[in-house]
Amino acid sequence: MIDRRLVFNLDWVFLGAVLLLAGIGVATIGSATQSGRLSGLYLKQIYIIGLGLLAMLVSLVIDYRRLADRAIVIYVASVLVLLYVLRFSPLIAGTRRWILVGSFQLQPSEFVKLAAALFVAKVFAESRHETIGLRDIAGPGAAVGFLAFLIARGPDLGTAACLAPLFLSVAFLAGLRMRAVAILLVVMLLVAGFACLKDYQKTRIYTFLDPSLDPQGAGYQKIQSQIAVGSGGLLGRGYKQGSQAQLGYLPARHTDFIFSVLAEEMGFLGVVTVLALYLLVIWRMLETALLARDRVGAFLAAAIAATFTFQVVYNMAMVAGLVPVKGLPLPLMSYGGSSILSSLLAVGLILNVRMRRFAN
C-alpha cells in the first residue's frame, strides 16, 4: 500500500504544471468549439481529465517496478490488441485505430506507447554492460519495431513515429556507443522519410515543400495554421476572437491544431507561457530520470519524457509550419479521450518513479 511518506514526495510543481496545461487546453477547446455541432465539447474534456486523474491516482498505488516486472506480458497483450484493432475495428475516416468501449472510442496505440516504455525500460535495465553496441539492441529494437509496424498499419504514422525517440533515448542512456547512436539516428530519419508513406501522405510532403501547389488540400492546413499563428501577433486577437479559428479556416482546430487557436487568440505571450509550462513538465520528467533510484525507473521516466517531448515538439512545429502535417495531438491540451488518459497515465508513471526514489 501507499506509504504516507510517499505523498510528501509527490512532485506537486510537476502535477501543478500538468493541470495548468490541461486547464489551458480546456479553455482553448471552449473557444475553438463555441458554436456549431461541437459546442460543449470542453465539458467532455473536463470529465475525461477527471477520469484520467482518478486513473492516475490509482496507478500510483502500484510500484513501477512491479509493473516493469510484467513488461513482457504487457507487451504481448499490446500486440494482441493491436492485431485485434487491425482485424476487427471499424473503419473511421479511412483508418483503423479505434476500439469501441461502450460509447467511447478508445485508441489503443496511445496506451501502447506506455507499454513500449515499460518494455524498453525493463529490457535495457536487465543489461549490465557498461557500454552496448548495435548487436545488443537488435532484439529489443525488433520488438519495438514490430509494435511500430502494427500501429503504422492503422495507418497512424504519427503515433508509430513516437516509438523511435522512445527507443533511441533509452538505448542512449543504457550506454549505446556513440557511433551506433549516430547510425541509428540516420537510419531512423531515412525510415521516417519515404519507406512506408501512403500516397496522400506523400502529397502532404510535396505540398509541404510548396504549399501553393494545392492551397485547398494538404497545403491548406499548413497555410491556414501559419496565418492563424502569425496573425496572433504579440498579444493575440483575444479569447474567442480569432477569425481563423472562429470562422472555421483552421482544420482540426480542437484536436491536432489546438495550439494554432491558442497562438492566434493569445499571441506570442500565450505561446511563450505554454512553451515554458511544457519545458517545466519535460524538465521535471528528465529530472525524475536523474533522481530515480534504479535503472528501470530512470529508463522508464526517460522513455516517457522522450515520447512526450517528441509529441510536443512535433505538434508545435507542425502548427508553425515547420514539418509536414501528421495526425499527432498535443499532449494534455488537444481534445481527445485516449490522448488525455494516456498522457495522465504517463504523468502518473513519472510521479510513481519520483516518489519512490528513496523507498526500498
Binding site: L234, L286, D294
Partner: protein, 604 residues
C-alpha cells in the same frame, strides 16, 4: 540498506537529453517569434483577406429618354436563379431537382458549377419567368442551395427601333479589360458595346457600390462590415422624337437602307434608321451563339449603322455642292446657260446625260430641277478638281461630322494629291467630269448629305449633328453651327432649284400638301455602267436611290437624307420614303402625291 545501482553514465547522458529538449523548445520559441512578431503584420493581412470579401453592388444604368421624355431604354427587374453548392446537402440530387423544375439540361448546370470560382454562387438561369420563380419558391425546402436574386436588366421597349443609335450592352470583352477607359471593371461587367450605350458608357454606368462581408471558411456570409450604396447612372435625354422614329422605320417597310432627320438649325437628330436592324434585347442576357452567328454572317450587315458607316457615291445629290461652288467661284451666274444635246464629248471620252435626247438649253435652276448632267460636267470642268474638293470639304464631306456615336466613317472626296498618295497614279481630267455628278471616287454617308441639306436650309451654317440633349438634366454643350460664309444669292438659287426638284422635277414623289419641300434626288452607281447594261436585272447592281431634302423650304424645321439600297432611281425609290417621313413630321396624311405631268427621266 540497499546498494544503489551505478547510474553515472545514465546521469551524464541525461544531461545531453535535457540540453536537446531545451534546445528544441528554444527553436520553437524562435520560430513563433518569427511568425508572430516579425511577420505578424503580414499574416494579419492574410487573415483579413481570408475572412472579408468585397461584393459589388451594381449601379443601375441610366435610362435613355426621347426629346419628349418617353422611355427608349430602361432597366426592368429580372430574376436570376442562383445555386450555391456549399449550401446543398446532396448536390447531385438538388441539381437534378432544379433541372426538372426549370426544364433545363442537368449537364448545363453541372458544367456551370464546374467552371465557377470557389465559394461563389453559380447563375443557373438568367431572366427566369414569374412562373419559374413561383415553382422554385414552392420547392424551397427541397432546394436549400437555390436562391433567386433580382437584377436590373437592360430593356429596349421599342425593340429594333433606332437600335443603331441607342446601341446595345454586353459583357465586357477581354480586349476591353485592357483599355484605360474601362479601368476598374472586372470580368463579367456589363458595358455598352455599340451606339450611345457605348459612347456614353461611363456616364450611364453610374458608380457601383460595394459591401464588405465577413465570410466563414465555407464562403458563407456571416455578417456585413461595410456598405457603400451605388449611385445610379443618370438618364440621358436624347434629341430623338420617338414618333418620328417610328414613322421612319415604317417608311422603309423592310427595305435595306438608312435615313436620318435633323433639325437644320441645331443639328439635333430627330430620327435615325438603319435597316436591316437587330433587336438589342437579344444581347442583354448574353447573346446566344446562334443569334450572333446569324447577325454577323448576314450579308445585309444588320449590326452596321448605315447612317454613319455606310459610304455611297452621292450621285446627283452632289450637284448641290457643285452648284454652290460654281456660283460662289463665279464660274457660272444664275443666267449662265449650257446646251445639253444628251452628251458631252471631252478628254477623248463621251460623257452621257441620262436624257439621251438632251435637255436643250439649261440654266442652273433648271439643271438642278431636271438633274442635267451636261450642265454640271461643264461647271466641273471650269471649277477643276481642287475647287470642287475644297467646297465639298467646306460643306462637311470627306470628314467625320463629329456626331456623338462611335465608329463614324469619313467618306472620301478625291483630289490629285490623294490619288497620287494612295493609288500612285496622276489625276485625269475625265475624272473631274465624273466627280462633277457625284460618281467616281466620291463617297459620303447619309448623315453627311443630310448636313449638306441642312446647310442650304439654314443659310449656310454647318451644324454639329448630335443625339444627346442632356445628361442627368444637365444640358450638353454643343459646338455652335459654323458659318460657311456663302453668299445669300448662291443659297437662294440653290434653294429655288431644290424647290423645283420637288415641285416640278425628279423629286415630285416627295411633295406634301400645304408644306413646300426642297430636295434633290440622286442615284449611286454600284458598279460600272458597262456591267449594268449586261445584266440589268440582278439586284446587286441596281443603283442605290438617294433623296436629300428640307422643309418647309423657306423656314426649314427638318433636314433629311434617305438612302434606299438598290432602289434604282432616287425619285422612284427614295423620294416616297422621304415623303412618308416628312408627312409624319408635319402631321399630315400619308397619301402619295399625284404625278405633276413631268417625266421621271433623271440623270442622277
Amino acid at each position: 540498506m540497499r546498494i544503489y545501482e551505478d547510474l553515472r553514465v545514465v546521469q551524464t547522458r541525461l544531461g545531453v537529453l535535457q540540453s536537446v529538449a531545451v534546445g528544441l523548445l528554444a527553436l520553437l520559441g524562435i520560430q513563433f517569434w518569427n511568425l508572430q512578431v516579425v511577420r505578424g503584420k503580414y499574416f494579419k493581412l492574410l487573415a483579413d483577406n481570408n475572412r472579408s470579401r468585397s461584393v459589388a453592388l451594381a449601379a443601375p444604368r441610366g435610362a435613355l429618354l426621347d426629346r419628349g421624355g418617353r422611355v427608349l431604354v430602361e432597366n426592368r427587374p429580372s430574376f436570376n436563379v442562383l445555386l450555391t453548392p456549399e449550401h446543398a446537402d446532396d448536390l447531385d440530387a438538388e441539381v437534378a431537382r432544379l433541372a426538372r423544375t426549370l426544364e433545363i439540361g442537368e449537364a448545363q448546370i453541372r458544367e456551370r458549377v464546374a467552371r465557377r470560382a470557389l465559394f461563389r454562387p453559380v447563375v443557373v438561369k438568367t431572366d427566369a419567368t414569374i412562373a419559374e420563380v413561383a415553382a422554385l419558391e414552392a420547392r424551397r425546402l427541397e432546394l436549400p442551395a437555390v436562391s433567386v436574386e433580382v437584377v436590373p436588366l437592360r430593356s429596349y421597349p421599342l425593340a429594333a427601333a433606332a437600335a443603331h443609335a441607342l446601341g446595345r450592352v454586353g459583357e465586357i470583352s477581354d480586349r476591353q479589360l485592357q483599355l484605360p477607359e474601362f479601368e476598374g471593371l472586372g470580368p463579367g461587367a456589363l458595358v455598352g458595346q455599340a451606339g450611345l450605350e457605348s459612347q456614353y458608357n461611363r456616364n450611364l454606368m453610374g458608380t457601383d457600390g460595394y459591401r464588405r462581408v465577413i465570410v466563414n471558411s465555407r464562403g458563407l456570409e456571416v455578417n456585413e462590415a461595410q456598405r457603400r450604396a451605388p449611385v445610379d447612372g443618370p438618364a440621358l435625354t436624347l434629341t430623338l422624337d420617338s414618333r418620328l422614329q417610328a414613322a421612319m422605320d415604317r417608311a422603309f417597310a423592310g427595305r435595306a437602307g438608312s435615313a436620318v432627320a435633323l433639325d437644320p438649325e441645331t443639328g439635333e437628330i430627330l430620327a435615325m434608321t438603319s435597316t436591316p436592324a437587330y433587336d438589342p434585347n437579344e444581347f442583354t442576357t448574353g447573346i446566344e451563339p446562334a443569334v450572333w452567328a446569324r447577325l454577323t454572317s448576314n450579308p445585309g450587315t444588320p449590326l452596321m449603322n448605315r447612317v454613319i458607316q455606310g459610304t455611297y457615291a452621292p450621285g446627283s445629290t452632289f450637284k448641290i455642292v457643285m452648284a454652290t461652288a460654281g456660283l460662289e467661284e463665279r464660274v457660272i451666274t444664275p443666267e449662265t446657260t449650257f446646251y445639253c444635246p444628251g452628251y458631252l464629248s471631252v478628254y477623248n471620252t463621251v460623257f452621257r446625260c441620262a436624257k439621251a435626247s438632251g435637255h436643250g438649253v439649261m440654266d442652273v435652276h433648271h439643271a438642278i430641277a431636271q438633274s442635267c448632267n451636261v450642265f454640271f460636267y461643264n461647271v466641273g470642268i471650269r471649277l477643276e478638281i481642287s475647287r470642287i474638293a475644297a467646297y465639298a470639304k467646306r460643306l462637311g464631306l470627306g470628314a467625320v461630322t463629329g456626331i456623338d456615336l462611335p465608329h463614324e466613317v469619313s467618306g472620301l472626296i478625291p483630289s490629285p494629291e490623294w490619288k497620287m498618295r494612295v493609288l500612285k497614279t496622276p489625276w485625269y481630267g475625265g475624272e473631274t467630269v465624273s466627280v462633277a455628278i457625284g460618281q467616281g471616287q466620291v463617297s459620303a454617308t447619309p448623315l453627311q448629305m443630310a448636313r449638306v441639306a441642312a446647310a442650304i436650309a439654314n443659310g449656310g451654317k454647318l451644324v454639329r449633328p448630335h443625339l444627346v440633349k442632356s445628361v442627368g438634366g444637365e444640358a450638353q454643350s454643343i459646338d455652335a453651327p459654323r458659318d460657311l460664309g456663302l453668299k445669300p444669292e448662291t443659297l437662294a438659287i440653290v434653294k429655288s432649284g431644290m424647290k423645283a426638284v420637288v415641285a416640278e422635277g425628279t423629286g415630285w414623289r416627295a411633295r406634301l400638301p400645304g408644306v413646300e419641300v426642297a430636295g434633290k434626288t440622286g442615284s449611286a452607281q454600284v458598279v460600272a455602267k458597262s456591267r449594268l447594261e449586261k445584266t440589268p436585272t440582278a439586284t446587286a447592281i441596281i443603283p442605290h436611290g438617294w433623296f436629300v431634302a428640307f422643309a418647309p423650304a423657306d423656314h426649314p424645321r427638318i433636314a433629311l437624307a434617305v438612302l434606299v439600297e438598290h432602289a434604282g432611281s432616287g425619285g422612284e425609290g427614295a423620294a416616297p420614303v422621304a415623303h412618308d417621313i416628312l408627312a409624319a413630321f408635319f402631321g399630315l396624311g400619308g397619301e402619295a402625291p399625284g404625278a405633276p405631268g413631268v417625266t421621271d427621266t433623271e440623270a442622277e
